[in-house]
């Protein structure tokens, strides 16, 4: 029997999610922050796929499919906003975006 321990898959997903979260919290480049969000979404997808294989259900795949679609939409809108902000402030660093701080 070929088998992967379920806990190992979940720990891998948790580690990926943590790396993405640390990336969002520590990096100030908005492009890298968006990429870290993508990593977090992928970690959740891995959890869904692992659980749906464990239970033999297809519903997890459908949910992961929806997450991929929403992530693509998020990336498109997010990058358009990065472009618009760069036109205004000539920077991609979130520390320098303080229009509301006056």
């Amino acid at each position: 029997m070929t088998a992967i321990p379920l806990a190992h898959l979940l720990i891998l997903a948790a580690a990926l999610f943590t790396l993405g979260m640390i990336g969002v919290m520590t990096r100030r480049n908005v492009l890298v922050m968006l990429m870290s969000v993508e990593i977090m979404l992928n970690a959740v997808n891995l959890t869904l796929v692992a659980f749906s294989r464990y239970h033999g259900w297809t519903e997890g795949h459908v949910l992961a499919f929806f997450i991929i679609a929403v992530a693509a939409a998020e990336a498109a809108v997010g990058l358009a906003m990065v472009l618009a902000v760069f036109r205004l402030k000539q920077t991609v660093y979130v520390d320098e975006l303080k229009l509301l701080k006056r």
Binding site: L6, L31, V32, R53, T58
Partner: protein, 217 residues
């Protein structure tokens, strides 16, 4: 140790290594290097999906993420065309160290929860016949788990309404991205249209800069 287990550790370790490389200060300083690391992570995850019999998702991961989203990322990075002096080094501040500690704390909590819930002998059986779903069985007893046929059948029956809603969401996102990227945001800072001095992507009005300095007392 079976072949699948070795593949799992290689792919999982690769995904983790690429994701960690993305965050390293010297690699992640240039966004294009971060994007390349992210492509590595996404390919490793596509391999893991294939290992877990999620054939359709594995293909979608490569087509949508590595194909569409990453092209969008690299395209924007190249469009911004950041000069070397504009790329700031990654500084380690107290706040960032605290953020890292919080991240590690959350990771520890997740590990505790996982070992409590699934720390026993539960394992994902990878033999082709183990996945039990309803519907027709294919030749040789394989029941089509994770294939386009099975996932598509579920998408167009049980999850038809969410599927259509996601298609509307993608349309809205595409239109929104075009509108956002097209329109100039100058009116926030300067009510009058800025002078036509092209500065790479757009012109940054001098009026905006002085106005900005003015408000920082």
């Amino acid at each position: 140790m079976s072949m699948e287990l070795i593949l799992f550790y290689v792919l999982g370790g690769g995904a983790l290594a690429f994701a960690a490389a993305m965050l390293l200060p010297n690699v992640g300083r240039n966004p294009i290097h971060s994007a390349l690391s992210l492509v590595g992570t996404l390919f490793c995850l596509a391999g893991l999906y294939a290992l877990l019999s999620a054939h359709l998702l594995s293909a979608l991961q490569i087509i949508v993420y590595a194909g569409a989203v990453m092209v969008l990322f690299t395209f924007v990075i190249m469009l911004l065309n950041l000069q070397p002096d504009e790329i700031q080094p990654v500084r380690l501040t107290t706040l960032k160290v605290a953020a890292g500690i919080i991240g590690l704390f959350v990771f520890g909590k997740l590990i505790t929860a996982i070992t409590l819930a699934a720390g026993g002998a539960q394992s994902v059986d990878l033999t082709p016949h183990s996945a039990a779903i309803g519907g027709a069985t294919w030749e040789g007893g394989f029941n089509g788990y994770g294939t386009i046929r099975e996932v598509g059948r579920m998408l167009y029956t049980t999850f038809l309404v969410p599927f259509e809603l996601v298609s509307v969401l993608l349309l809205v996102a595409a239109v929104g991205a075009v509108v956002l990227a097209k329109r100039s945001l100058h009116y926030i800072d300067a009510p009058t249209p800025p002078p036509a001095k092209l500065n790479r992507l757009a012109n940054k009005p001098e009026a905006a800069a002085t106005h900005d300095d003015h408000g920082h007392h």
